[in-house]
Amino acid sequence: MREVPVALRLIDRIQENHKTITLVLDHALDARPGQFCMLWLPGVDEKPFSIAGPDPLMFTVSRVGPFSEAAHALSKGDPIWVRGPFGTGWSVGPGRALLAGGGYGAAPLYFLARRLREAGAEVEAALGARTSADLLFMDRFGGLGLPVHAATEDGSMGAPGRVTDVVAPLLGSGRFDRLYACGPEAMLKALEARCRETHVAGELSHEAYMRCGVGICGSCERDARLVCMDGPVFSVPGGG
């Protein structure tokens, strides 16, 4: 992939739930799970999105503001401009992995789950959202035949509460070598604390406002680290 935005066409536009779609593009990308691309719509904006699948290239977009709204307005056949992949991504290897996703965080974790399985890992997933209507990718994870623990704040599916409530006992069980997570900042913060308590290594995918995407402008700083270049996946040491 070039570093200059390339116009790719939507070959599919999957409605995931009331506010989330997956854009399926006419292109394959050599990318690792956890990496992201910058998506550009001329006249609108350019924003970072995690890769939900590399072949065909897919992005899962929740409607929250101007850019994501413009992306939702796209139809099959329309172009969207992509540059990337950028960032480091998650480590992939054998072992016992717990995947924790909040909101559209489920999408890149699904890409990760497939790669982990190929690498011989044992994988379980915990997905959370406000209501069952907000839960994403439950079917896809189910389709991989791996245990999925759901949590909804209104209790409409799975355990009532947040995904962190489901993850905490799982981490404490000693059944997992590593936690992979993607979701809202508050969730990541809570999970980081759980990792430290339970001495389970964590790899958490963070967000920040991005401009260049390639580690030069400094816009995406988090504590002297650049989310676009050093991350978006940051490690919490395990061991203990």
């Binding site: 116009a7 350019e46 030069i216 400094g218 700083e221």
Partner: protein
Amino acid sequence: MRHSGPIDLSCMIAGVRLPTPLVLASGIWGTSPTLLERAARTGAGAVTSKTCTPAPRRGHRNPTAIDWGHGLINAMGLPNPGAAEEVALLRDAARRLAALGVALIASIAADTVEEFGRTAAIVSDAGPALIEVNISCPNVESSHGEMFASSAEAAAAVTRQVKASTSIPCVVKLSPNVADIASIARAVAAAGADGITAINTMPGMLVDAESGAPILAHGTGGISGAALKPIALRCVHEITAAVGLPVIGTGGVLTGTDAVEMLSAGAACVGVGSAIVSRGEHALSLILEELKTWISERGYHGLDDIRGRSHRGAGAGAIITNPPPVPGWEKSRA
């Protein structure tokens, strides 16, 4: 011919001694003190903070920076928290850098000559080693109408005002986008500049074939990196031929050899920016190591052995041969 004695890579710029000749260029990694410290730890002799302006600026909307294959092009639009807020960041940065022996250069810009002076006075409170006067950002529309760096008079007026507003030495950053950069250099030298940074980015535009639209949201942007190197070398050569001021030679330095070329063209020290993208976060330490190896392999002792060699001309013993007449000439005379 490997050199055995110690190699001294320190150098002077406008009265300030830098432990290495590499200077992190302004705008790279923004205004954050922790990121400036991080850059300082990778081999910089000085780091330049992102240009700050009198009032805060959000900057332009995305896309703002693109790696187009022969370097970068950017139109950030000088996002910065404003001089008053920036002082605290600069103070923090100065403290972190002092511990490492690395100099802080504070970059400023403004819309009017008076505001340049006021901004210089404000950032001086943080005690940077140098102030870099950015009169050459191609990406902001100023009330002045054109870049101050476009005219000798405007460039000199800003320089005089800044010099009157602070006792910290000032380097003025020039633009390649002028017909005669030497004349601008002479003007800022006469106005009291202590040094020159050359060059800022060259205005350009990327166009997306598919949509026909400019890719940067701002339309035009500034070219940096590989494509800028020969322009920067030419400007540094022309400036150092015209004035005696030390020059921070900046533009397209990606390797130790590039740094040697920039010093050969007359630069006192070498600015590095886009290399961070092409060579990664350790670009400065890679360039520094390559420069050291280059110097020691040739038995040189330091930067003075290579600086300014482009000005030597063909030399006394040089043989000048003439090309033959052009083919058409011969033919039509036959």
